[in-house]
């Protein structure tokens, strides 16, 4: 079996194994890390594999989170319905925004996606009748799946999230190793060459954009269930920036790297802030350090050591 698949399985199995031994709080942090990992991996498809740096990825995350939250609280829709609605909402948003964004590349793409992300943020604030504005949507119940274990407890919810992450990771892995994924890599390396070779570059980029949006939405849906609460803060610029940094920290173009980067950042944020008020400064310094000394991120550092 491919060593990456083995590695991924080991990580998942390891997480599944230690979970019962963890006290409640670290377990909830680990759950948060899983959701962040999914967001980071979805962005990796766009950034790492297609070479499109998006500063607005939180938009699809947020759209799905809000869809789930609103349907679950106001209309008491069940898990399947909420999840489907969330994914569809994310897909539609990505499809719309992709039409505008894919026209650009590089820095322009960065800035356009930033603007589009801000539009969603603005909507979250202003469309008060739908999103309750600044107050946020609270009271989102955990899914009722008819299982003997209630998802209100941290451990069952952790396994639930882990399972979904595993499935998503598998799907994304299949995607990036397929011929579609390889063409994405080709586009990242040189768009003109791919065009000359006859590939429909626009379509490839657009599809990558939408797929990345859908998986980002998946993370968003889980986030709504995890916190029981969604607010405009979840779609703000800082969230998109953090996603980008998770990918950069972990190593773009590896899927596993961004997942690791996400875990590192979640734990850094929550542990460092307990010991010092200057956690933001430390975080910034860590980012700069990683970018300077480990440009391939954690995954890059690991790969180099293996060599």
């Amino acid at each position: 079996m491919d060593h990456r698949v083995v590695g991924a399985l080991l990580v998942l199995a390891g997480a599944a194994g230690i979970a019962p031994a963890l006290p409640a709080y670290p377990l909830t942090l680990l759950t948060q890390a899983l959701i962040a990992a999914m967001l980071a991996m979805s962005l990796d498809v766009l950034l790492g594999y297609t070479g499109l740096p998006s500063l607005g990825h939180a938009a699809y995350f947020g759209v799905a989170a809000y869809a789930v939250a609103i349907l679950a609280t106001e209309h008491r829709v069940g898990f399947a319905g909420c999840l489907a609605a969330g994914l569809v909402a994310a897909a539609v948003t990505a499809a719309l925004f992709g039409l505008i964004a894919i026209r650009a590349s590089g820095t322009y793409f960065l800035m356009i996606t930033l603007a589009l992300g801000m539009v969603i943020w603005g909507l979250a604030f202003r469309w008060v009748t739908l999103t309750k504005g600044d107050n946020g949507v609270s009271g989102v119940p955990r899914p009722e799946l008819g299982l003997p274990w209630s998802l209100w407890s941290p451990l069952p919810f952790f396994y639930f999230t882990l399972l979904i992450l595993a499935v998503a990771w598998a799907l994304l892995g299949l995607l990036v190793t397929s011929s579609f994924g390889l063409s994405l890599k080709g586009i990242r390396e040189s768009e003109s060459r791919m065009r000359v070779l006859g590939y429909n570059v626009w379509l490839h980029k657009y599809l990558a954009f939408v797929i990345a949006g859908v998986f980002s939405g998946l993370a968003g849906a889980l986030w709504a269930y995890y916190n029981g609460f969604v607010s405009p803060v979840d779609v703000q610029l800082v969230t998109s920036v953090e996603a980008l940094l998770m990918v950069a920290l972990g190593g773009p173009g590896t899927l596993a790297g961004p997942a690791a980067g996400a875990a590192v950042i979640v734990f850094l944020k929550n542990f460092v802030s307990v010991y010092t008020k200057r956690w933001l400064l430390i975080l910034g310094a860590v980012y700069i350090g990683v970018i300077l000394f480990a440009p391939g991120g954690l995954a890059g550092a690991v790969a180099r050591r293996r060599r």
């Binding site: 709080y25 948060q32 008060v128 600044d134 107050n135 029981g228 609460f229 008020k277």
Partner: protein
């Protein structure tokens, strides 16, 4: 013989020690843990610091112990976002095993924490969070508010303005979120019932820093303006209100936070004359407030504000409840019941008790910004004692009507 006596004494003292040991263990026993959530980084960090110092001031005054047990204050940074507040609340409850949770600043934090707190059955107090509905239509079982509801001061103020200042037509300009809607709504409710008219409602988006486009729209035929701003927006609004030429022309009324002592010192003379209602002012002329205000200023190097009084008195509230249960904070139901029964007669803000929905009944002060001894202060010009969240209204009728929002009460005279 002596040996036998010594042995008997030894045995007796051993028995005594064994008997006393359990009580000794709980007396020097595990400390009582209070978890405080405050924004210590980010845009609201100054407020968070006020909240922290207020709590610490009170705990230091009582030597950080009650009912023979030490008190441990565990502080976590909510970073001013509800998701982080929730995560840190989980840490405080699951990992640090706090007995009581307190703090929080934003309404969104309050709404985010409510289901969690009720699910965890952890006694919680909100010293600052003022979102009206948390103690109205859907009150949380495990939360006791020791602060205020947003509209609480505005109800008596609306009537007072109509009767005493004799303003008939008022234009409002406030931040476009629940805190602003509930402030204006509360005012409009009583003001219009007393014969006044709200002739214009302007809502400013939360990230506004240039108020010029809004100030230009204020109807110049109004008798006065009611504003609601917080923090740095209050600072900018006051300045721009003056440069827009409105200061002399349209008297300014505002929600209390607009001239709160956390921003008042940074304002200039443009703030003089503003009249605001709130349940606190650093200028309240009672011995207990003077003592608190000077102690706080000595400790923090800045003026006491309603945020710091909130946690100072809020911490005292918790400690009084702990005293009432004899220090047995492990009995959560008893502690919660005690929290709902605390009454303080001599807080810096005056007397406080709590209504059946868990919100304080207290004095509301009308304050006017005046320059005294070269410094700006909120001088108290009127007091409404015993004001609850529903004021004179019947709670049942009040709660049948919708929550104050952007469009409620409707602006009939706009």
């Amino acid at each position: 013989m002596r040996l036998m006596v010594r042995t008997r004494v030894l045995i007796a003292s051993l028995l005594l020690a064994a008997f006393l040991a359990p009580t000794a263990a709980s007396a020097q026993g595990a400390p009582i843990k209070i978890g405080l959530l405050a924004p210590l980084s980010g845009a609201f960090s100054a407020t968070g610091k006020d909240m922290l110092v207020g709590a610490e001031l009170y705990l230091d005054e009582i030597g950080r112990q009650v009912a023979g047990r030490k008190i441990e204050l565990i502080v976590e940074d909510s970073e001013g976002t509800p998701a982080t507040a929730l995560t840190k609340a989980r840490k405080l409850v699951d990992q640090d095993k706090v007995h009581v949770l307190t703090g929080g600043l934003l309404a969104s934090t309050g709404y985010a924490l409510q289901p969690y707190v009720d699910g965890q059955r952890i006694p919680t107090t909100f010293p600052v969070i003022a979102a009206d509905d948390l103690t109205q239509r859907k009150p949380a079982k495990w939360i006791v508010r020791t602060g205020w509801t947003t509209s609480q001061p505005l109800h008596p103020f609306g009537e007072w303005v109509a009767k005493n200042l004799k303003y008939k037509k008022i234009a409002t300009i406030g931040m476009d979120y629940a805190f602003g809607w509930e402030t204006v709504g509360g005012f409009q409710h009583s003001f219009e019932e007393s014969g006044g008219q709200i002739i214009q409602k302007i809502w400013t988006p939360l990230n506004t820093n240039d108020f010029a486009p809004f100030l230009a729209q204020i109807k110049r035929d109004a008798d006065a303006v009611l504003a609601l701003f917080v923090g740095r927006l209050a600072l900018q609004f006051m300045k721009q209100y003056e440069t827009a030429g409105l200061k002399g022309k349209l008297p300014l009324l505002a929600g209390g936070t607009t001239t709160d002592e956390s921003v008042l010192p940074q304002m200039g003379d443009e703030a003089i004359g503003a009249i605001t209602p709130l349940h606190y002012s650093a200028a309240i002329d009672t011995p207990q407030n003077k003592r608190f205000a000077s102690a706080f200023e000595a400790k923090a190097g800045k003026s006491a504000s309603y945020y710091s009084e909130a946690t100072y008195t809020g911490t005292r509230w918790i400690v009084d409840a702990i005293k009432a249960v004899g220090g047995k904070v492990e009995d959560r139901d008893a502690l919660l019941a005690a929290l709902r029964k605390v009454e303080i007669k001599d807080a810096p803000r005056g007397p406080i008790s709590v209504d059946q929905w868990g919100n304080p009944v207290q004095n509301v002060y009308v304050r006017k910004v005046e320059k005294v001894g070269g410094k700006l202060q909120n001088a108290v010009i009127a007091t409404f004692p015993n004001t609850g969240q529903f004021w004179k209204y019947s709670p049942e009728e009040y709660m049948k009507a919708p929550l104050y929002s952007r469009d409620y009460p409707p602006c009939k005279h706009c």
